[in-house]
Structure formats: structure tokens, C-alpha cells
Symmetry: C2
Subunit: 204 residues, 2 copies
């Protein structure tokens, strides 16, 4: 044994990046216990910090959940942007792939997705969260605008709503295991079906 026991390492009084550590602990708590059993004390315990420490960074539980939701939206936007690029240069293909990214995010992070779209606890009047959530909407809007522009048309609000709703519906139902058949298919086949469903909502 040449290595020190990790527990014996001197623990500095100041954490270094407690804010980020608390967000990570909060996400893990959300995954394990669900938002209904979420508590600030459990988060602090998971981050190995006294239960009063989070107040310095987030105020209260809703402050922490608001910050976590904002981080969720930023990751959500980045995730979709990465998928969108797989669509190459065709605007419709880009919109469809971006939608698959939306669905993939919901499947990979159901607890976070639920916090973002199915909870009243995050406070959307907070500028940080408002901005992050709005950016997610703008992404869909921009992808639709590109499709319209390629056809020499104006962007249409109804088209934006249709593509958002179809992608959101597929994402929410599949992250809640409601689309049983799709869950049983191999990924390639499933994605092909999802693409065909999204495509119905893009005017030809």
C-alpha cells in the first residue's frame, strides 16, 4: 500500500467549487429519489457538506432547482445542436435530426426533463432560467425558419408549434415508457420511425 487512504486526505475548509458539486448532487438526487422526495439536506449530505451550506449558493430548495433546470436547458440545447449537425446541409433533415436529439435527451435524462417540463418548482421569472428556456424555443424556431427560407417562404408559427409538439409528445411519452412498441425495436429502426413521424409535421 503506497497510496494514502482517500478519507485521510486533508479536507480543505473551503470546497473549491461547491456550486457545481451541489448541482451534480442535486441531479443525482433527482434521478434516485424523484422530485417529490427531493430535499436540500439530502443534497448537502450527498455532496459531503453541512446541510446549511447550500443556502450560501442557492438560497433555498427552489433556488437550487431553478439553477439545475437552467443548466438542464443549456445541456438540452447543446445536445440538440450536436444532433442537428448530423442532418448535413438539408434544412428539413437538420430539423428532423434536431428533433431526434430532443427525444434522445428526454430518454437519457428523464428526471431532468421532468424538472424542465413537468414541475412548478423552477422559477421562470429568474433571468438565468428564462433565458435558458427561451433559447431552447428559439432553436426550434430557427430550424423551422431555415426550412421555410429554403422554400422561399416566410416562417409560420403553426409550423413551429407543430414540430415542437410532435417532438415533445414523442419525447415525453417515450421518456415515460408509454410507447411500448418503439421501446422494443432496435435503435436504427426506431429512429427511422421517429423521423417519419416528425416529417409528417414539416410542410412539403
Amino acid at each position: 500500500m503506497t497510496r494514502k487512504k482517500p478519507a485521510a486526505e486533508p479536507r480543505p475548509y473551503h470546497h473549491g467549487d461547491l456550486r457545481a458539486a451541489l448541482l451534480a448532487a442535486a441531479e443525482a438526487e433527482l434521478v434516485e429519489r424523484g422530485i417529490e422526495a427531493f430535499s436540500l439536506r439530502s443534497v448537502a449530505k450527498r455532496a459531503n457538506v453541512s446541510h446549511a451550506a447550500p443556502a450560501h449558493h442557492f438560497g433555498d430548495t427552489n433556488g437550487l432547482l431553478t439553477a439545475l433546470a437552467a443548466e438542464g436547458y443549456r445541456r438540452f440545447v447543446a445536445h440538440q445542436a450536436a444532433w442537428e449537425d448530423r442532418g448535413g446541409t438539408d434544412p428539413a433533415a437538420r430539423l428532423i435530426e434536431s428533433g431526434l436529439g430532443y427525444i434522445d435527451f428526454a430518454q437519457r435524462h428523464p428526471a431532468l426533463f421532468r424538472l424542465m417540463f413537468g414541475s412548478d418548482r423552477p422559477d421562470y421569472t429568474t433571468p438565468e432560467l428564462d433565458k435558458a428556456a427561451y433559447a431552447a424555443y428559439q432553436q426550434i424556431e430557427a430550424a423551422n425558419a431555415a426550412v421555410a427560407a429554403a422554400k422561399g417562404r416566410e416562417a409560420d408559427s403553426t409550423d413551429v408549434e407543430a414540430t415542437w409538439a410532435i417532438v415533445h409528445g414523442l419525447a415525453d411519452l417515450s421518456s415515460n415508457q408509454r410507447l411500448y412498441r418503439l421501446g422494443t425495436l432496435p435503435a436504427k429502426q426506431r429512429d427511422a420511425i421517429l423521423r417519419s413521424i416528425i416529417a409528417r409535421n414539416i410542410p412539403g
Copy 2:
């Protein structure tokens, strides 16, 4: 004053229909406090009954929420069935109107809708809930089958998934106030847009 004070009326030891009264109180609690702050004691208090009484009917909190979710699905199915009939005899029109009923239910009962589609607390292995939730799926399936039959086709799983997802997406986003523009329109105009969006997902 010829009427007795209501509070002075003799209160029978046995409630009569405490089960139904507790379900109503639970729904009101869900609306007012949200599922995250839901507690059995508050429900009992609201129903004017001792806090240990609900255990006789539902076991624990999840038992009560499971029963409430099942009742929610039954009302959800009835609500859609009523709307479906507005579609007259054309199967596609019936499917579309049924979808509007789905969306209308979510807008009128956001807390119940969230319990049904965005919570892990109801126990879907309970036969009562399993049956009620499955009936909601079968309704969409049957409406799709009627559309296919009218065209001399077989029912297609992908069509069922597409119509469910579009309707669910519109319902979830609008019950969470995310479709801002639609919320500002007069009902007739909004419904026309919703119909046109649903229609994109029904093969011609």
C-alpha cells in the same frame, strides 16, 4: 333565521361515502399544493376526518394517488368520447375531435394530467389503474383503426403513435403554458389551428 347552522347538524360517526370524499379532497389538494407537497394528513383535514381514516380505504399515500389516477383516466376517456361524437360520422373528423378532447382535458385539469402522465407515484401494476390507463390507449387505437378501415387499409402502429404523440405534445405543452401564441387566440381560432396540426399526422 329559520335554518339551522350547518355546523350544528349532527355529524354521524360513519361518513357514508368517505372514499369518494377523500378522492375529491385529494384532487383539490393536488390542484392547490401540487404533487410535490401532497400529504395524506392534508387530504384528511380537507375531508374533515381524522388523519388515520384514509388508511382504511387506500392503505397509504401512493394507494390514494393510484386510485385518483385511475379515476382520472376514466374521466379522461369519457371526456374524449364526448368530444369524439362531435366529429359526426367521418372517422378522420372523429379522431381529430377526440384529440381536441384530449387537449381540452389537459388544459382543464393540469394537476390531474400531470399525475397521470408525469409522476412515478401511481402504481401501474394495480389492476384498476392498469385497466383505466390501457382503456385510454385503446381509445386512440380504435379511432385510428376506424380511419384505416374507411380507406380499406390495415391499422398501422406508426399512425397510432403519431396521432397519440401530436395530441399528447400539444396537450402537455399547452397545459404547461408553453404555447404562448395559442393561449392568446380566441378559442375557435385556436381549435382550428389544433385541428390542422393533428390532421398532418393522419395519412391522407
